[in-house]
């Protein structure tokens, strides 16, 4: 077994912050890249100041929100407003393979670190920008957040109960998977391309567009059929019953999905073949699709009061697609997640040992590595300056005195 990691030797000048950007560079670090996170002590990123915090006490080095997205990385503090900061950034970029940011269009350019500038520093650089909606077009400079983007791209309109206002996912969903994974996919193709041709390039991932690629069928349906799909709660266009049903306990539900007649037979068997379920109108998928209100209320009558965990074991064991609605505590304690070793516990100087997501891709020969917890703000400034940039102590002290690292 080779110890070499896929991205050994790759160096990332990471200007990203908050959501999609740090999640993307996190994966690079897990597979061997050296990720230098460029932060500013005098203006810490929003997530460092957003909870949860260790023991509920706020602090720039106490946020679990921040830490989960930034293990393995090195943090340097560079005050980009300082005239000397640009030169330090340029020296990092000169030794990097990738420059990545998720600022609004124009921020990197303002620092003279846009692609055209960076190309002069490092001609074969791969430069990735994750803009909100792309850098051309009437809305290119619009500010937005994951939660607002979900509304813009249609998730909210399409998710929620039909008799209630649009809801969405309850999270900043597009930040979490759609944008980071598309980003890594494109930049890996770019690394490959660079190895073959010697050429770097500029890649832009408009977050709105990456998010639409996750759920396009309703838009295609509108374009070809003129139909305006709307939200259908927990139902499914191609399966019934398909719902979330109350079980015993507070805020406890089970999801059950029946795609075909044989699964319906299995569900009936687990329910003990009650008379109502043998009504011929439920015998076919068309019949079940047409009578979902009744189906859902009868199933919920049956699940209510039962223990969700036992019910899931019984149903899944009989071939019925069923799963409990797990909350965060359940997730940490879930026997399957534990058996998979999903949660990684890393020790942090201020937070102590805390839970991080592991990578959901388990590679047999080069498994994701977790060497260090999220960095303290500016923890590696001196190390990166002296060991990575070979800066002598005098220059380092001078820049420090000049507040370049502030």
């Amino acid at each position: 077994m080779s110890k070499k990691m896929p991205l050994d030797g790759i160096i990332v000048a990471d200007f990203t912050w908050v959501g999609a950007g740090p999640i993307a560079t996190r994966f690079l670090s897990e597979y061997g890249a050296k990720v230098i996170k460029i932060e500013t002590k005098s203006k810490p990123e929003i997530l460092r100041m957003t909870g949860p915090f260790k023991d509920g006490i706020p602090g720039v080095d106490r946020s679990g929100y921040f830490s989960n997205r930034n293990p393995n990385k090195q943090s340097i503090s560079l005050n980009m407003k300082h005239p000397k900061a640009r030169d330090v950034a340029a020296r990092i970029i000169e030794k990097s393979d990738l420059v990545i940011n998720n600022f609004r269009p124009g921020v990197m350019e303002k620092w003279k670190l846009g692609y055209e500038d960076v190309k002069k520093i490092k001609p074969d650089i791969i430069f990735v920008t994750m803009s909100m909606q792309g850098s051309s077009g009437p809305h290119s400079s619009y500010m937005g957040f994951g939660a607002t983007l979900n509304a813009l791209v249609g998730f909210n309109h399409l998710s929620g109960f039909p008799d209630q206002p649009p809801f969405g996912t309850g999270t900043n969903y597009s930040d979490h998977v759609a944008v980071p994974t598309h980003t890594i996919f494109a930049l890996m193709a770019a690394f490959r391309h660079r190895n073959k041709t010697g050429k770097g390039q500029f890649i832009e991932i408009p977050q709105s567009e990456a998010a639409i690629c996750m759920k396009p069928v309703a838009v295609m349906d509108y374009a070809v059929n003129g139909r305006e799909q709307s939200r259908i709660g927990n139902r499914h266009l191609n399966a019934a019953p398909h719902g979330v049903y109350r079980t015993s306990g507070d805020k406890r539900w089970i999801g059950i999905a029946v795609y075909n007649d044989s699964e319906w037979e299995s569900l009936k068997n687990v329910m003990g073949n009650p008379a109502w379920a043998n009504d011929p109108k439920f015998a076919t998928k068309e019949g079940r699709m047409a009578n979902q209100d009744q189906l859902d209320s009868m199933i919920e009558k049956w699940t209510s009061g039962q223990d969700g965990h036992e019910l899931m074991q019984k149903l899944a064991g009989s071939g019925v697609r069923a799963g409990m609605v797990l909350n965060a505590k359940d997730m940490l304690e879930d026997p399957q997640m534990q058996a998979r070793g999903h949660w990684v516990y890393l020790d942090h100087p201020e937070i102590g040992v805390s839970a991080y997501n592991g990578c959901p891709v388990h590679m047999s020969k080069t498994p994701a590595q977790y060497k260090t917890a999220a960095p303290l703000l500016g923890q590696h400034t001196e190390e990166v300056m002296k060991e990575f940039l070979n800066m002598d102590d005098r220059e380092y002290k001078q820049l420090e005195a000049d507040q370049v690292f502030a």
């Binding site: 937005g144 249609g154 041709t197 500029f202 991932i205 374009a223 399966a239 999801g255 899944a316």
Partner: protein, 415 residues
């Protein structure tokens, strides 16, 4: 533009995937890889999914199937037969990546598990997407998007307080598993090309979903709080009705004023009754905004303001005023969105078997050196079976025998 190259043109991907992995295959295919979508004789289940092109159910008409299989070649092959296995192994020998969504152990039972495949092709990257992974107590639980969303902790967040949760549109657990499979396999491909070492990638959809829980796990881990959705629980953060639908207001953000103040100024400028109340410092406190009374007060004040304005106006005007109101777009709004239209995001391609054009979302990325393109629609059932078999050295006579034996299906006019 013309000098751009298809960066993955030298990569071959096999996909035994259907509804779950086909998104991963599409990502390779749209950058030029030769992706072979292998269907069983009963067809990819996605072919049977609504909605259909012009609402006519047919083997080719499912929009979901059409979207996820652009640029691929299609082959119908029964890998449970001896001849089918032989063909599959010959294909594996030529492939860089295999993407599959079979239940754990199934391919091993057929003699087509990773140990057998890697013996034929040590450089192979074999990625398996399953609901719970290859091992653990739930590994044999049957798969569905709803189950993975529930067991991945995501569904719980889709509701506030005691509300029953509602699932995200569009089989997002499948999407997340597929995207991680694509990400993992291109990283592993990079490694295999550098070292000659292929490997097995075990992707759990439950784990994939668990990466989208925002800060919920850390909230429990660090503060002992089990959170649900915060959207709508706080005044100035959530969905409100307007004249032509709904908008999403993001005025409240922690103790920040920078989104709140310009929004309130706008209300006051519009002479909205009671808007001055919102100038009070108490509104900058999230706990105050979370009070039921505050939620109601805010709603009562903004409703008359919103109800005589359209979502697009509110969106564009809010940005001019440096506040943040976004439209809750319907599919029609998404299609007609001025930004997406300007960027020509939606593409069309003529589909011969359907006799018309399908509209597709465009690329998720713009790249200066690499080409993303739609060059051909999703394969018709059995379209490339014969072509691929001939590439493997089968003669037309041998192919006819395979067709007769039910090992492969060849599209009629291609036979």
């Amino acid at each position: 533009m013309e000098s751009k190259t298809s960066p993955l043109a030298d990569v071959r991907v096999l996909e035994l995937a259907g509804e779950v992995g086909s998104c991963a295959g599409k990502m390779f295919a749209d950058l030029g890889a030769d992706v072979i979508h292998i269907e069983p004789p009963q067809g990819d289940p996605a072919r049977r999914y609504q909605p259909f092109y012009k609402d006519v159910p047919s083997t080719e008409g499912s929009l979901e199937y059409q979207y996820f299989n652009t640029n691929k070649r299609g082959m119908v092959l029964d890998i449970t037969t001896e001849e089918g296995k032989e063909i599959f192994l010959k294909l594996v020998k030529t492939a860089d990546i295999l993407i599959e969504n079979e239940r754990p152990g199934y391919l091993d039972q057929l003699g087509l598990g990773y140990s057998q495949l890697s013996a034929v092709n040590p450089k192979l990257v074999h990625v398996a997407i399953t609901p719970f992974g290859q091992d653990g107590p739930y590994k044999d639980f049957p798969q569905s998007d709803l189950v993975c969303m529930a067991m991945g902790g995501f569904l719980y967040l889709a509701g506030k307080d005691d509300e029953k949760p509602s699932r995200a549109y569009g089989d997002q657990a499948y999407m997340m598993g597929s995207l991680y499979a694509a990400m993992g396999s291109i990283i592993a491909l990079y490694h295999a090309e550098a070292t000659g070492e292929g490997q097995f990638l075990d992707v759990s959809m439950q784990e994939s979903v668990s990466t989208a829980l925002e800060n919920a796990v850390q909230y429990y881990d660090l503060e002992g709080i089990i959170r649900r959705s915060l959207i709508g629980a706080e005044a100035g953060y959530g969905t409100y009705p307007c004249r032509d639908g709904y908008i999403f207001v993001m005025a409240a953000m922690g103790k920040n004023r920078y989104l709140w103040d310009p929004f309130v100024d706008w209300l006051i400028e519009d002479k909205i009754e009671g808007a001055e109340v919102l100038r009070g410092d108490e509104w900058l406190d999230p706990l105050y905004r979370r009070k039921e009374e505050s939620v109601e007060t805010f709603k009562k004040i903004v409703e008359p303001f919103l109800m005589n304005k359209d979502k697009l106006f509110l969106y564009e005007e809010s940005q001019r005023r440096k506040c943040c109101v976004f439209p809750v777009s319907s599919p029609k709004d998404v299609y007609n969105n001025p930004q997406l239209q300007y960027r020509k995001f939606f593409k069309t391609m003529y589909h011969e078997a359907l006799g018309g054009e399908i509209h597709y979302p465009g690329p998720a990325y713009d790249m200066t050196e690499m080409k993303w393109e739609l060059s051909k629609p999703a394969p018709v059932f059995g379209q490339h079976t014969s072509e691929i078999l001939q590439e493997l050295g089968y003669t037309p006579d041998q192919i006819a025998v395979l067709v007769k034996g039910g090992v492969v299906v060849v599209k009629e006019d291609a036979a």
